[in-house]
């Protein structure tokens, strides 16, 4: 009974943290577009949070640069359990064109575990929504 309640509340209120680890801002704009009333993402209980301590899902964009690697790990550790990571865009998935550069570690999965990948350059807002919803479906 309690487990069902916990599961229900997790699925109904995934608060997200938007994290840019070195993206070109295109994916960030699409994430912001996904939060607009046009898509009305709040009907799924999604709220954008300003601090990792309030968030359940980290929505990451961009390749991981060497400078931000330790900071990403710190942000990931600040998020309370259970936590999930969605990698948005081609760069966050693999590093894309920046892969192999001397100051880029690669995709987000090189640094923190990733639960869902959303392809696209940049990913469409409905694709991002779909990624978050598919992640919630796994719970």
């Amino acid at each position: 009974m309690l487990n069902r309640l916990v599961r229900w509340s997790r699925i109904k209120s995934p608060w997200i943290l938007h994290l840019n680890s070195g993206a070109c801002n295109a994916c960030d704009i699409e994430i912001v577009a996904a939060l607009t009333p046009r898509f009305d993402i709040e009907r799924l209980g999604v709220l954008l949070k300003a601090t990792p301590r309030h968030a359940d899902v980290i929505v990451c964009t961009g390749p991981v640069t060497r400078q931000i690697k330790d900071r990403i790990i710190r942000i990931y550790e600040q998020v309370p359990d259970p936590k999930f990571v969605v990698a948005v865009g081609a760069c966050a998935m693999s590093g894309c064109v920046y892969r192999g550069a001397y100051n880029v570690m690669g995709g987000i999965d090189q640094v923190i575990p990733v639960d869902a990948y959303v392809p696209g350059c940049p990913a469409r807002p409905d694709a991002i929504l779909d990624g978050v919803v598919k992640l919630l479906g796994k719970l």
Binding site: T65, R66, Q67, D70, G100, Y102, N103, M105, G106, D109, Q110, P113, V114
Partner: protein, 157 residues
């Protein structure tokens, strides 16, 4: 002002400091100078020709020397001062006391090529990460990058 007038004016200002003048394209003027006379040339061009705007400073590693290009822009043309610094003694005088905005380019030059910019007011690294190992200069041609092994979540298929 046509290109020829600009070249004549710059030659008059620089005198013997201008080793070679080229005009490879319209409104683009290359002037070769000696690294020792760089600060004097920049001061003279700023005061007498009004070249205050340093568009950028680029560095080239051509395997024997470092070539530095100071791109000055004004309403009429883009005037580039080119100077060559030997790799064995990579030192250049700072111009940031003449043009304060040059300091960002000079700090980047130090990070990327390992050039020593003398009399720079703030020599801290600018673009390389905080944990970057010393003596690694990414834009040098003889620098090799050992790419770390990538983790593939779930293993290779």
């Amino acid at each position: 002002m046509t290109d020829i007038e600009i070249i004549e004016k710059a030659k008059g200002i620089l005198g013997g400091k201008a080793l070679d003048v080229a005009n490879p394209a319209e409104r683009r003027i290359f002037i070769k100078i000696d690294p020792g006379s760089l600060t004097a040339a920049v001061t003279a061009l700023r005061d007498q020709m009004g070249l205050r705007y340093l568009a950028t400073l680029s560095g080239v590693d051509d395997k024997e020397d470092f070539e530095l290009l100071y791109h000055f822009a004004d309403d009429h043309a883009c005037l580039n001062l080119r100077t060559r610094v030997p790799k064995t003694a990579p030192r250049i005088e700072s111009i940031s006391h003449i043009i304060p905005g040059a300091i960002l380019y000079e700090r980047e030059l130090q990070d990327m090529f390992g050039l020593v910019v003398e009399r720079i007011p703030d020599p801290r690294p600018l673009v390389v990460p905080d944990d970057w190992p010393a003596e690694n200069y990414p834009l040098r041609k003889d620098w090799k990058f050992d790419r770390p092994e990538e983790k593939i979540p779930g293993g290779k298929s």
